[in-house]
Every structure is written in structure tokens, then in C-alpha cells.
């Protein structure tokens, strides 16, 4: 009997696919703004959310989303204020998340062992209801992460500049925090809350070794998230381990392979000539064919340049040089 004949395995693989796409999609933005550990923090807080579900009998997916989102917005608010004491405040939030989770689970009469499936994932526990919620959320995260890429890129690249461009920076910051919280919840059935951050960060770090641009890194990271997610779940089926562990180890192996390869590529790129614009190096660049003489009547704006006059012609500065014009 093939592993795909088991319903639970089909669900686990679909959940892994969605997680493998959503986690690096959000992770790229977190790494870009150097908040790689934010996913970790949210994962800790989400544990309390799961415990609330166990205590009240509500679906842990929903309670985890609510608590993780509240935690993520708190983290974002503390970060945005930028006070020196912010890291201590965040640390306390993380401890509180774990301790609250274990405490509430105990009060619910469950043992902490029941939390294990949420901490490191479990391939047998993805229900049909879970899958619907996970699917809808993961697709929402992907649509936002891809559709708003120019905006999110700008905010994560240079927050102050984005503000000076009239981009509603605070709104996008909160959006990233909420997307991260949702992704943590999506991922808790497969990689689990304690290791979800690895799936947000490691594929991005791996892609980053091989690429030069943001879009390329983003797309490659999605692929590098899916491969370990699927293979980790399959591995967990054959060898009885928590899928989170196998997913993360496979992702890290990928990084181990990409690192030397990336170093080699980079060395080759740097060796390529560091060319400069010839106009700046003082070399002589003549303008293309020129049907008229620049002067007061040609309509091209004039601008003084040292001892002569340049004329602005289709975004180029032209200076008279004997019978032709030079690019200045």
C-alpha cells in the first residue's frame, strides 16, 4: 500500500505543501528587515493559544490564530517604538507564551505531552477541518505576499524612505506581523510551533547564497520551502519521528550544500570588471546623429557646466565639440 492511499497522509502532504510555500513567503520579508527571530517569538506565543483551545474545547487552530495575531501585533508595536528596553519586553512575551501554554494545558487536565504534536508537528493529526482553514489562510498569505510585493519590499528595505513616498508604513508593518502570525498557525500541524521559524528563515538564507535580486530570492525560497516540507513529511512516515525535526534538518542540509556553491558564484561575479560610466572617467563619448545646432532657439534647456554650456536633449546633456556634440 502506497503512502498516498492513506487519507491522513494526503492531508499531511497538502498541509506541508501550503506551509512550505507560505512560510518562506513571509520569511523573506522578515529576513529582509532583519527580524528573522520574529517567527520564533510568535510561535512561542501561539502555544498559549493552542492551550486555550485545549482548555475551552474550541478548535486550537482558531484560538492559536487569535492569540498569535495579538502577540504579533504586540511585538510589532514594541518594535516600532524602538526603545532600548524593547528586546527585554519581547523576551518576556516569549517566556510568557511558553509558560502560559504549559500551565493552561495542565489546567485543562492534559499532559504537556499533548503539546508535543503542536510543538514539533504530527502527520496524523491534520483533520479535514484543519486542512480547510490552513488552505484558506495559506492562500491568503501568498496572495498578499506576492500581490503587495512592491509595497512590502519598499517598507522592509527602507522604512523611512517608504514613509517619504506616502506608503502607509504602519499598516504594512501590521500586515506583515499578522501574515507571520497566520503562517505560524498554518505551520503548527506540520513543522510545529517551535520549528516554524526555521522554515521561514532557512529557505531564504539558502536562496540568498545563490541569487542577486529580491524576486529571485523570493521565488527560489518558495521552492526551497516546499522540497524539505514534502520530503520531511514522507521521511516522518517511514521513520517515526516528528515531521518538524526532519523538515528542518533537510532544509539545513540544503543550506549546507548551497553555501560553498554560493561562495564560488560570488567570487566569480566579483572578479568581473568593475566598470564605470565612461562619461565620468573623462573619456570622449559623442552624441548620436544630431540634426540641429543647439543654441538659444532650439528649445532645449541650457545649463552652465564649468567653461561651456550643456543642452538638455531627451534626458542627455549635450556639449558642443567642434562639428559634433559630446555626452556630458
Amino acid at each position: 500500500m502506497s503512502l498516498l492511499d492513506y487519507d491522513f497522509m494526503q492531508r499531511a502532504l497538502i498541509a506541508a505543501l501550503l506551509t512550505g510555500l507560505a512560510a518562506p513567503a513571509v520569511g523573506t520579508y522578515l529576513v529582509q528587515r532583519r527580524l528573522a527571530l520574529m517567527g520564533d517569538g510568535i510561535g512561542h506565543v501561539a502555544l498559549t493559544g493552542v492551550a486555550v483551545g485545549l482548555l475551552t474545547g474550541w478548535a486550537p487552530v482558531w484560538t492559536a490564530i487569535v492569540v498569535a495575531t495579538a502577540g504579533a501585533i504586540t511585538i510589532e508595536a514594541v518594535r516600532a517604538r524602538g526603545k532600548a528596553s524593547a528586546d527585554v519586553a519581547l523576551a518576556m512575551l516569549f517566556y510568557g507564551g511558553i509558560a502560559g501554554g504549559v500551565l493552561l494545558t495542565g489546567l485543562a487536565g492534559d499532559t504537556a505531552a499533548n503539546l508535543y504534536a503542536y510543538l514539533f508537528g504530527s502527520i496524523t493529526t491534520v483533520s479535514n477541518g484543519d486542512l480547510l482553514v490552513i488552505g484558506a489562510l495559506a492562500i491568503a498569505v501568498l496572495v498578499l505576499g506576492i500581490g503587495l510585493q512592491p509595497q512590502l519590499f519598499a517598507v522592509c528595505q527602507d522604512e523611512e524612505y517608504a514613509r517619504a513616498s506616502g506608503v502607509p508604513v504602519r499598516l504594512y508593518n501590521i500586515l506583515i506581523a499578522v501574515m507571520a502570525a497566520v503562517t505560524v498557525t498554518v505551520a503548527m500541524r506540520t513543522v510545529g510551533l517551535l520549528l516554524v521559524s526555521a522554515l521561514m528563515v532557512v529557505p531564504v538564507a539558502t536562496a540568498d547564497q545563490l541569487t542577486r535580486g529580491f524576486k529571485a530570492t523570493f521565488l527560489l525560497a518558495l521552492g526551497l520551502g516546499v522540497v524539505p516540507s514534502l520530503s520531511g513529511v514522507v521521511f516522518a512516515y517511514y521513520v517515526d519521528v516528528a515531521p518538524g525535526a526532519s523538515i528542518v534538518v533537510i532544509a539545513l542540509l540544503g543550506f549546507g550544500l548551497a553555501w560553498p556553491l554560493g561562495a564560488m558564484i560570488n567570487r566569480r561575479r566579483r572578479r568581473r570588471a568593475n566598470g564605470e560610466d565612461p562619461r565620468l572617467a573623462g573619456r570622449h563619448v559623442t552624441a548620436e546623429e544630431h540634426p540641429h545646432q543647439h543654441g538659444e532657439e532650439c528649445g532645449h534647456p541650457a545649463v552652465e557646466h564649468d567653461d561651456h554650456t550643456d543642452y538638455l536633449h531627451d534626458g542627455h546633456l549635450h556639449a558642443a565639440h567642434g562639428p559634433h556634440y559630446d555626452e556630458h
Binding site: 512592491p150 523611512e160 565620468l280 557646466h305
Partner: protein, 259 residues
């Protein structure tokens, strides 16, 4: 003070009146005035800590004012929405972040004020980005990672990013600080091209460098107040000297107090 009275506010791209800025507990600006008339290149000069950066950042709404008012293109800052008309170049040594980005990607992020969320870039957007990259002389490096460029080239990327929005006003915060000579030349060239089409520039400078001949007016700050507003304080070449000259000139100081 004199200059401000002559120029009508409505012709001004930037008007700052009596700006007071307090950062933390520390007052940084005490009632500074600044105008940039359309088509002028205005240099903002002054010693370190005199409030130059604070003044330009307040002028484009990055820092709140404790008192005073700002107008951009005649519109009070609180109601100003036309951010595509303003290109800002922050004072920074690097254009890189935690994930690699190509020159084109960073420059394209300057185009956002003219784009809508969820809509792909138009041909016009792409052309503006290409032109901006060409303007700073990085055309053949457009697909390279900004992290692999020199500091001066990265500064040029930031200038191209500001130019990509096709602004009517460029605001530059020490664009030449720690920048190699070819990049300074590239920048002066880009600025000549920009100014030739009749647009305005507000530039914070520590040293004149190759920009000197482009500057129409200089505003000198000292300890959060304007102490000079008029032609360049000191003739060509002696960059740095004006600081001394004007901080000690009683007339300039007086103008500043009541300006």
C-alpha cells in the same frame, strides 16, 4: 528674512515657517524658516549637529513639528498627498538590506508613490526606472546586487530611486558624504540634468565639492537657527570655511534670530 519676504509663498515648492523640533528632551530646531522657490537649487549648510538633517526631514513630514508649519507645493503638510512629486535621498552609507536586491529593484521601489497596490508596473513605470538608472550612470550594473557595489555607487542607487518617481523636488541629505570622486561627479552630472529641466532641489551639504556651481541660494544653520539666507556665503573653492565665518558674524546671527 529679507529673501523670504520677497518671494511669494505660492511660488514656493517648500515653505517652512518657524519650525520647532524637539527630539526626545532635546530641542533641535528653534523657529527655523526655509523656502525653496520653484526652479531653485537651495543648499542647506551648517556644522554637525546644527539641525540640517532635522530640518529637511521635518520639511517632508518624517519628523513631527512641535510648532511652526510646513507647506509642500502650497499645500499644508497634513493634507499633502502628492508624494510622487517629492524625491528623497536619505543620508546613508548603504542601500543593502537582509535579502539581496538588484539595483533595478531598489530603484523601482522609488516609483511606489505613482503606483497602486496589486497593479503590475506599467511600461511608463519601467521606463522611468530605466531612465533613473541611466541618469546616475549605472545602466550596465542594473541587474547586480546593490551589496556588491561601492559605497558611492550605492549612494547613486539611492539618488536614482528618488529620481524614479519623476519628482519636481529633490531633497538630498548629504549625498556626497564619504562618496568617491567618480560618484560625486556622476551625481553632479545627474543634478545638472535634473535642474536643466526647471525643477527644484533642496540639498544638505557638508562640503561643496562639484556641486558648488549649481547652487542658487544657501541657507546656513547654526544651533537650530538660520544664520544666513542668501547667496553662497564664501566664494568658490574654500569649502568648510563658511562655517567659521558666519557663526561669528554678528549681522548674520541677528538675521537668524528674527528670521
Amino acid at each position: 528674512m529679507l529673501v523670504n519676504e520677497v518671494i511669494n509663498d505660492t511660488d514656493c515648492v517648500v515653505t517652512v515657517r518657524g519650525a520647532v523640533v524637539v527630539l526626545g528632551e532635546r530641542p533641535v530646531l528653534y523657529g527655523a524658516d526655509l523656502t525653496v522657490p520653484a526652479g531653485q537649487v537651495v543648499a542647506l549648510l551648517g556644522p554637525n549637529g546644527s539641525g540640517k538633517s532635522t530640518l529637511v526631514r521635518a520639511a517632508i513630514g518624517l519628523i513631527p513639528l512641535a510648532a511652526g508649519q510646513v507647506r509642500l507645493f502650497g499645500t499644508p503638510l497634513a493634507r499633502f498627498r502628492d508624494w510622487g512629486r517629492v524625491g528623497y535621498v536619505p543620508q546613508r552609507s548603504t542601500a543593502a538590506s537582509g535579502v539581496p536586491a538588484t539595483v533595478r529593484e531598489v530603484v523601482a521601489s522609488g516609483r511606489l508613490a505613482r503606483r497602486r497596490p496589486f497593479w503590475p508596473a506599467t511600461a511608463r513605470d519601467r521606463a522611468a526606472v530605466d531612465e533613473a538608472i541611466e541618469l546616475v550612470g549605472l545602466g550596465d550594473r542594473a541587474e547586480e546586487s546593490v551589496a556588491n557595489l561601492s559605497g558611492g555607487q550605492q549612494q547613486r542607487v539611492l539618488i536614482a530611486r528618488a529620481a524614479a518617481t519623476e519628482p519636481d523636488l529633490l531633497v538630498l541629505d548629504e549625498p556626497n558624504a564619504g562618496v568617491d570622486m567618480p560618484s560625486q561627479e556622476a551625481f553632479a552630472r545627474a543634478l545638472r540634468t535634473f535642474v536643466a529641466s526647471g525643477r527644484s532641489v533642496l540639498v544638505v551639504l557638508h562640503e561643496m565639492g562639484p556641486l558648488e556651481q549649481l547652487i542658487d541660494r544657501a541657507v546656513v544653520l547654526s544651533s537650530g537657527q538660520v544664520v544666513h539666507d542668501g547667496p553662497l556665503p564664501v566664494p568658490a573653492g574654500v569649502a568648510g570655511d563658511w562655517q567659521h565665518h558666519h557663526a561669528e558674524s554678528p549681522r548674520a546671527a541677528q538675521e537668524g534670530l528674527f528670521g
